[in-house]
Amino acid sequence: MRFSYTHHMPYTGVTEAGQDWPVANKQFDPKLGVEMFQRYIEDKIYAEQAGFDWIGSNEHHFSPYGMMPNPNLVGAVLANRTKRAGILQSGNIIPITNPIRVAEEYAMLDVMSGGRLIAGFMRGIPHEYVAYNVSPDESYGRMAEAIALIKKAWSSPEPFGWEGEFYQFRAVSIWPRPVQQPYPRMMMSASSDASARLAAEAGSSAGFLRIVDFESTRQQIKVYMDRARECGWTPKADDVMIGMNCSIAPTYEEAKEILQAGQKYFFGVLGGGIRTAQQLVIQKTRYFKDKGAAEKFAKKATVQREASFDERVEQGLIVCGTPEMAIQQIQRIHRELGNGRMNLSVKIGNVADHHVTRTLDYLRDIVFPAVRQLGEENDPAQAAE
């Protein structure tokens, strides 16, 4: 089992709940912002020392939810300050960004890190399309075309042009080229059937990040695996990444109290306004290809809100408790889903940074050594059937 550490770099100086999106930036205190950036960067670097295999950064706009409108800037710092860990950009929101710019910046990160980039291609959460004034109706089309264009930009030795539906370029030849040839390793979200198929078609590893139960996740993994085989390749267990929130403490009660408070702040303060804009996009556009996918997305949100914390831990949807409990929970997830990789989010909302560090230490000293061997030979398709 390999582990990825994603830290959204939230701005936790906001206290008022339920603010609409976009959140007024008059609440941003630059002095506090400087401190947070310094602390968060050190925290991400510490994740490598704690034994994480990848360190993740992601893109969000116009909200204290995350202070990384361009995660590649953070990736550049990590590329320079770390030695071993993969630099997971999870990712750039491809449909709202210039794909040539993404190809160039990702290539830079791959070279700067000595070939450690994991190139995340994300479609983003719905409100991001309002931020950059791109039609949500076009999100899948832009995503598919942009990925094809980026891969061509990475791999074409000769200058080329592109005549597409959404993108037209007449002269492309990026400098530098990536170290990993023909492409850097890729990571895409596979949380809907359409995105699972797209990840498989792109030859990308897949992240299953909003899990509501094991059964539906198994089905999602099956969609990904089946489509990959149709495209002529077979993902390994290492290509299947399961995302979970994580809190570890000397007792379950303490771990729960810390994470529960962080989640309350996350959903109430950081995520509140986003939901309003999200609903607007989902209801008024064709962000999802079909009604079923939109309903599935809404159901996930409802299930997450309605189930109690204890129920979700019981269902195996949160890694929370003592180190020994965390080991059992990770073993169970692997048993159920056959994954060879997990993404653990520890800094949830305003969870205190010293608690974050303590969880990382427990993971390094007790949890990781006990679960490293999981998924080495496993085929996730077998678990999904």
């Binding site: 004034n133 000769e158 080329f160 042009g161 005549e163 597409g164 539906e165 037209q168």
Partner: protein, 264 residues
């Protein structure tokens, strides 16, 4: 839209089709013979397209002495002389793209600008051969088979068309003789490749881009080998823009061009 005519050439007569408005453009067909389609009709709004039926294709007679790519290129040069009377832009599809390169090498004064559309003839020896399995072949040829115009040719004509390929180039898949002379091509050249083309490998168009001095390689997204029918609007816009603006086609014209500008 396209009218049938006959051209009397030095070696014999050939049939051709012509239609459209604007400067002349010679379209050299692929293995399927002349096939008017949505892409060519859109292109004809900006150029006058001349489509010679190469000897032996589409039920026409072969011409004695025209039995190689070189002699066929000489015949096309004669066609340009007789029917247009000055240098013409040339667009060749697949087999026609291969022929167009021979024309540009042997008769540089006859070619204005050159456009090679999914060109055959430059398959590296280590690249896999195109599939002969009918289902796979269909996928390699057509991203959107439902966009194909209704078939009007008999099975006999289609089979004869395919046999004419061997008549002109034998079993050659990489034309070494032509490849060694690509550096002689003086005209501005655009090489077009469909991102889903399963018949012409990526290495072939990269090779052409590398060896033709004033060339541009453009990928046409979501088009297979039959680019003109898979993506008619992209095909027509790109060719017309290249022919009209030459090197300046690299530069974005902005919204005043009548085409929506890329947002990002």
């Amino acid at each position: 839209m396209f009218k049938e005519k006959t051209a009397m050439l030095g070696k014999g007569e050939i049939k051709y089709f012509v239609g459209g408005t604007g400067r002349p453009l010679i379209h050299l067909h692929g293995a399927g013979g002349v096939r008017p389609n949505a892409g060519l009709e859109a292109l004809a709004e900006n150029v006058t397209i001349y489509m010679p039926v190469l000897p032996g294709f589409d039920g026409t007679a072969e011409i004695a002495g025209i039995d190689s790519m070189e002699t066929l290129a000489d015949l096309v040069a004669d066609f340009i002389d007789k029917e247009i009377g000055e240098a013409a832009d040339v667009l060749g599809l697949s087999f026609g793209g291969w022929l167009a390169a021979w024309l540009a090498v042997r008769h540089p004064s006859k070619v204005g600008q050159l456009c090679m559309e999914n060109p055959a003839g430059f398959r590296p020896k280590d690249a896999p051969a195109p599939s002969t399995d009918p289902e796979t072949r269909m996928k390699q040829m057509y991203a959107y088979p439902e966009r194909l115009p209704k078939e009007t040719k008999s099975d006999k004509v289609i089979a004869k068309n395919l046999s004419m390929l061997g008549h002109y180039h034998g079993d050659t898949s990489f034309d070494e003789k032509l490849a060694s002379q690509l550096g002689k091509i003086e005209c501005l050249t655009m090489i077009m490749h469909g991102t889903r083309d399963g018949r012409v490998p990526e290495e072939a168009v990269q090779f052409l881009k590398r060896d033709i001095p004033r060339s541009h390689l453009i990928y046409v997204y979501d088009a297979a080998h039959s680019m003109e029918t898979d993506q008619p609007a992209r095909f027509a816009h790109l060719v017309a823009d290249f022919m009209e603006r030459a090197e300046a086609f690299l530069v974005n014209q902005g919204t005043t061009s009548g085409r929506p500008q890329q947002v990002l």
